[in-house]
């Protein structure tokens, strides 16, 4: 029961922040609301007993990526509100399609629960006390079973670092 309260709290903040994020004119406000949405997602991870992912989300996503976004928005002077030139057709068609997909998924999940034997055959989760310690479990998996993707991810990050530095350099520096 307490699980449900925590879940609805974080889920509500996440959805509300996401909605506010895509509707703000000021880019910094959007960035702040994305930060709260990411913090709420971290809360969902914590509620799912994924503690390492919770803290990685906060360190990397909120503490790294969002700070980078805010830096770029400030340095490129994007916080000035831009004039509105909405395409009503595009906006309403996007919203309608999204609502349609959402309703369809909701109907599928609801009907699947009512028909015995159909739908998601997901086992009930293990009680929290019997879970292995999260960091050790994740580290074992990462360094034994998934070592190759781990190394590839580090190469990916190196390439991204080089790419970002090259992109950010002034043209006159390369002479």
């Amino acid at each position: 029961m307490l699980d449900s309260i925590i879940f609805y709290f974080f889920a509500g903040i996440a959805v509300l922040s996401a909605l506010l994020m895509i509707t703000r004119r000021n880019a910094i406000h959007s960035a702040v609301f994305l930060t709260t949405a990411l913090l709420a997602t971290a809360g969902i991870f914590l509620q799912l007993h994924a503690e390492f992912l919770f803290i990685v989300q906060i360190i990397l996503y909120v503490g790294g990526i969002m700070v980078m976004f805010i830096f770029v928005i400030m340095l490129v002077r994007l916080d000035v509100a831009l004039p509105r030139l909405r395409s009503r057709l595009r906006q309403w068609s996007a919203i309608l399609v999204a609502l349609a997909v959402f309703l369809e998924a909701g109907i599928i999940l609801y009907l699947a629960r009512r028909i015995p034997g159909e739908g998601l055959l997901v086992p009930s989760p293990a009680p929290a006390a019997k879970l292995p310690p999260n960091t050790e479990d994740l580290a074992n998996s990462l360094f034994h079973a998934y070592l190759l993707p781990f190394e590839i991810a580090s190469v990916l990050l190196l390439v991204a670092m080089i790419g970002a530095v090259v992109m950010g350099k002034n043209r006159s520096d390369t002479k």
Binding site: M1, F52, I55, I58, V67, N134
Partner: protein, 452 residues
């Protein structure tokens, strides 16, 4: 509604101790931070051959209370074009990050808010990564050029040195093998050494990085008064400024706690596993009794009656606490014996954290300020390569110890020397390019229309 209420009540019943500790942190840490400010002013005065605040209360001890009252009753000024929501939110975020990070720190084997969380020290490091957010949003919301420049500089400094501190901490985590706070300290007891001695390069790097992490001198250019007015805090007055300031000092307590837990042995007494040094257990009581005796001696030399009475009161308080410590000692009476680990642990932890913060303050009063490009060069060109080579060195030392069975101190000594040499070579090679580039830029003749 009933099952929801039941679950909430069950939660409160099971976790009321932790909630009480959390409440105490939020209530007491701002007060403690205020008194750290007073200690800093007194120390600064002592190192500058003067007395510091003496007027408010006996020996200036009520100065933080007076400052807090002044800041609370000041007019709340918000700049005209400032973004009101973000302006309000930014200092709150800064303070919240610092206080939440304190939740996972264990002040002793018994005193911690969060019950032995799996990610332990990484939680503290990660939540204090939310601090720069409050700074950059506050600087932007002030709608002031100096604020934005100060905020961007400060945030750039903070995120650079967060990386450095993270690398330095990784070398400590390699030695302890776990992230849990209690397990780290127990591992230091089992290893018979503080990790500051087993990973000295990591400890020094973390010390320097934590000074930069908290915007303290000599890395305080973004908020120095002679540089950018007050940087990102320019437009903040009254209690909003107090929140930023207290957040900075709470952050100081956080990084000192992390450094103490991982590198200085947490709540263990010096030489925790050496049995013939067991008389060190009596040290807290003796130290406090000595302070009490000193207060009694000084009480006779005070000019005013109220100061004399105050010194006597302090002396008797010291004797009282020393008595509690002595009665809790293992040789003493059974009922108080059970509080021995918590009490002594908390004492040693607080002593170490105070020593760490004393080093912060000492460096502030001694060293001149770094220029911003020198600061960034120190972080990226010097400390990060050194910290990376240090991780390699500690890893090699552990492999030598556990894989090849070398003597522990020999392996550590050799790898530390190799780390320092390799780090210096790497820095020299890396910096030579940067120095050569800047020299080339200076050597090319620049059109100076004001010259001549």
């Amino acid at each position: 509604m009933n099952p929801a209420l039941h679950s909430v009540l069950a939660f409160l019943q099971g976790w009321w101790v932790e909630l009480l500790c959390a409440f105490l942190i939020v209530a007491l840490v701002p007060l403690i931070a205020g008194y750290i400010v007073l200690v800093e002013r007194k120390l600064m005065a002592d190192m500058q051959a003067r007395l510091g605040p003496m007027r408010v209360g006996p020996h200036g001890l009520l100065q933080p209370i007076a400052d807090a009252l002044k800041l609370l009753i000041k007019e709340d000024i918000i700049p005209a074009e400032a973004d009101k929501l973000v302006f309000w939110f930014a200092p709150v975020l800064s303070m919240t990050a610092a206080l939440t990070a304190l939740g996972a720190v264990a002040f002793g084997p018994w005193f911690h808010v969060a019950r032995d969380i799996n990610i332990g020290l990484l939680f503290v490091v990660g939540i204090s990564a939310l601090g720069p957010f409050g700074i950059v949003l506050g600087g932007w919301a002030s709608n002031n050029h100096y604020s934005i420049i100060g905020a961007l500089r400060s945030t750039a400094q903070l995120i650079s040195y967060e990386t450095t501190a993270g690398f330095a901490l990784v070398s400590g985590f390699l030695l302890s093998g776990t992230l849990r706070v209690g397990a780290i300290v127990e591992q230091q007891r089992a290893d018979h050494a503080w990790y500051a001695f087993l990973a000295p390069v990591g400890f020094i790097t973390y010390l320097i990085a934590s000074i930069a992490e908290t915007n303290r001198a000599p890395f305080d250019l973004p908020e120095a008064e002679s540089e950018l007015v007050a940087g990102y805090m320019t437009e903040y007055s009254g209690f909003r400024w107090a929140l930023y300031f207290l957040g900075e000092y709470a952050n100081m307590i956080v990084v000192a706690s992390v450094g103490t837990t991982l590198f200085l042995g947490g709540w263990l007494r010096p030489f925790p596993s050496v049995d013939w040094l067991g008389w060190l257990d009596a040290l807290p009581a003796l130290l406090l009794a000595a302070v009490g005796v000193y207060c009694l001696i000084r009480a006779g030399k005070q000019p005013a009656q109220v100061q004399k009475l105050f010194m006597w009161a302090v002396a008797f308080a010291c004797f009282g606490v020393a008595l509690i410590f002595a009665l809790a000692a293992p040789l003493a009476m059974a009922p108080l014996h059970i509080i021995y680990p918590g009490l002594y642990g908390a004492f040693w932890f607080l002593v170490k954290v105070s020593a760490y913060i004393y080093v912060f303050m000492w460096l502030r009063f001694t060293l001149p300020r770094f220029r911003f490009d020198q600061l960034m060069r120190l972080g990226w060109h010097i400390l990060i390569p050194l910290a990376l080579v240090n991780i390699l060195g500690v890893g090699i030392a552990l492999a030598l110890i556990s894989g090849l069975g070398w003597n522990r101190w020999l392996a550590i000594a050799i790898t530390t020397t190799a780390t320092v040499i390799a780090g210096l070579l790497l820095i020299r090679w890396n910096d030579r390019h940067a120095v050569a580039a800047s020299l080339a830029a200076e050597a090319s003749p620049v059109e100076d229309s004001y010259a001549g």
